[in-house]
């Protein structure tokens, strides 16, 4: 379905929460991407703010470390004229033994409108959404989903390639432990892309074929056929574990350098959710090269998060 078709059918956004990509329809995903277009130029104007969430309060409830996602959500909320409260688990009563729900209920009682949550437990945002009245946005829950990352990846691909339907997209790395991979797989397949997962056998579970994707253990084999390569970050804490090949071996088999990139299509799009381990997943030549969309992903992330905050808030107003 094209943008205009979605529009002509008068589709509306009715979700008060954004918890994952899995539950969204293709039309709903496109609706978010289209809405983000309307926010994309706010960053380049003389006044980088719109009044859409004036008087609303957004809380960043982060139980895991994050710089990029947290900053992006903060800036997105500020550009919508909302007030933002930053909450870090380390400085909180959680260290005094308070439960997640009690913490969230206390924050809700202060008159908050949207909670943006990152938590190591899969399903934590869903749990809050069930028990709270406010809107909940998932900023990453364990190895489950990271919906705004997938949305900004989809937006970036559509913006540069002009479409998503029919593209072949490789997701490379530690698929098994990656919420970015999971959300991307849902989003890409719903919008008609072919997805191939690439990585060491220990990190690419065969069971994921049930999600409608292909699996490959050899990056060089698939490189000539793909339009997009999404390189996942290698979590250094896993490198010592026995599911991981040696550092050098990983680099040799799955790292993307200038030589290896020559095997790909000349206009292949190289993406990475960040933060990059330079010299591991990508060499600097590739990360900073002409095929790289990495910084565009970051800019687009703002437009996507503005759109998401705006839409969940609108839906909750409507529900009143």
């Amino acid at each position: 379905m094209t943008t205009n078709e979605a529009k002509e059918k008068g589709l509306k956004w009715n979700r008060k929460h954004l918890l994952g990509i899995e539950e969204l329809s293709a039309e709903e995903i496109l609706y978010i991407l289209d809405t983000a277009e309307g926010f994309s130029d706010v960053a380049t104007r003389s006044i980088k703010k719109v009044p859409a969430l004036r008087g609303k309060v957004v809380v960043n409830l982060f139980f895991e470390d994050s710089t990029r996602t947290r900053t992006s959500f903060t800036l997105a909320a500020q550009r919508l004229s909302a007030d933002v409260i930053e909450f870090s688990s380390r400085l909180s009563s959680l260290s005094k033994g308070e439960t997640l729900l009690d913490t969230a209920r206390n924050i809700e009682a202060m008159g908050v409108d949207i909670i943006v949550i990152r938590h190591s437990a899969p399903g934590a945002p869903h749990y809050l959404a069930k028990h709270l009245k406010v809107s909940v946005v998932n900023a990453g829950d364990g190895a489950h989903e990271h919906p705004t990352q997938a949305l900004l990846d989809l937006y970036t691909i559509r913006k540069i390639k002009g479409k998503i339907d029919g593209l072949k997209v490789a997701i490379v790395g530690d698929i098994a432990h990656s919420r970015v991979a999971r959300s991307n797989i849902w989003g890409l397949t719903k919008l008609g892309a072919e997805v191939v997962l690439v990585g060491p056998t220990t990190l690419v579970p065969k069971s994921m074929k049930s999600l409608g994707v292909e699996i490959s253990y050899n990056l060089d084999d698939i490189l000539p056929y793909v339009d997009v390569i999404n390189m996942l970050r290698i979590q250094r804490e896993r490198i010592s574990s026995n599911v991981f090949p040696s550092f050098e071996e990983y680099k040799r088999l799955f790292g993307l350098n200038k030589e290896r990139l020559k095997k790909a299509k000349p206009d292949v799009l190289v993406m990475h959710p960040g933060p990059i381990n330079r010299g591991v997943e990508l060499t600097s030549e590739v990360a900073d090269g002409p095929n790289s969309a990495i910084l565009k992903q970051v800019s687009n992330g703002l437009a996507i998060r503005m759109a998401v905050l705006f839409l969940v808030n609108q839906a909750s107003e409507h529900a009143l």
Partner: protein, 184 residues
Amino acid sequence: MKVLDEEKTKDAIKKLAEQIYSFYKDYKNKTRSELPNLAAIGIKTGGDILAYRLSDILSDMGLPILQRGSLDIALYRDDLEIRGSKIRVEKTDINFDINNYEIILVDDVIHTGRTIRAALDALMDLGRPQAVRLAVLVDRNQRLLPIQPDFVGIKMDEPTNYVQVKLKELDGEECIIIGREKAG
């Protein structure tokens, strides 16, 4: 209910263009530097199509419209909380620095004036235009805010409950539907 057909709709647009032209005609035959840099910006959706049409007509008449653009006002509306998810955000397309321009702001229908209030706020967030003049095809004569158009194609004699402007580019047909009773 009354319907103005395609020809009458085109006449109304022509009449609107002529008003704009005569407002600026004093500048004619003077050097270009004395004529303000004119840009037509239409409010989505409907106003943007009209702004393009007016630009063409005015440029043909000899009044150069140097830039065109479209403005989406969704994020500036005062009824975001009332209309909720019915509101759709679209892209503003203004690819020039409005500081150097006198803006002719175009909409198809003016009713309460709330849309224009939102449009002015949206415009001012993009810069500080030299001036803003308001051109509307139909004035429903039912203002709730102290905002008045500079140029009007058709003005209703009394407050009118329902007006719909249909344009070829958007609706596949061209007419103005005017009803005392709310349609649909």
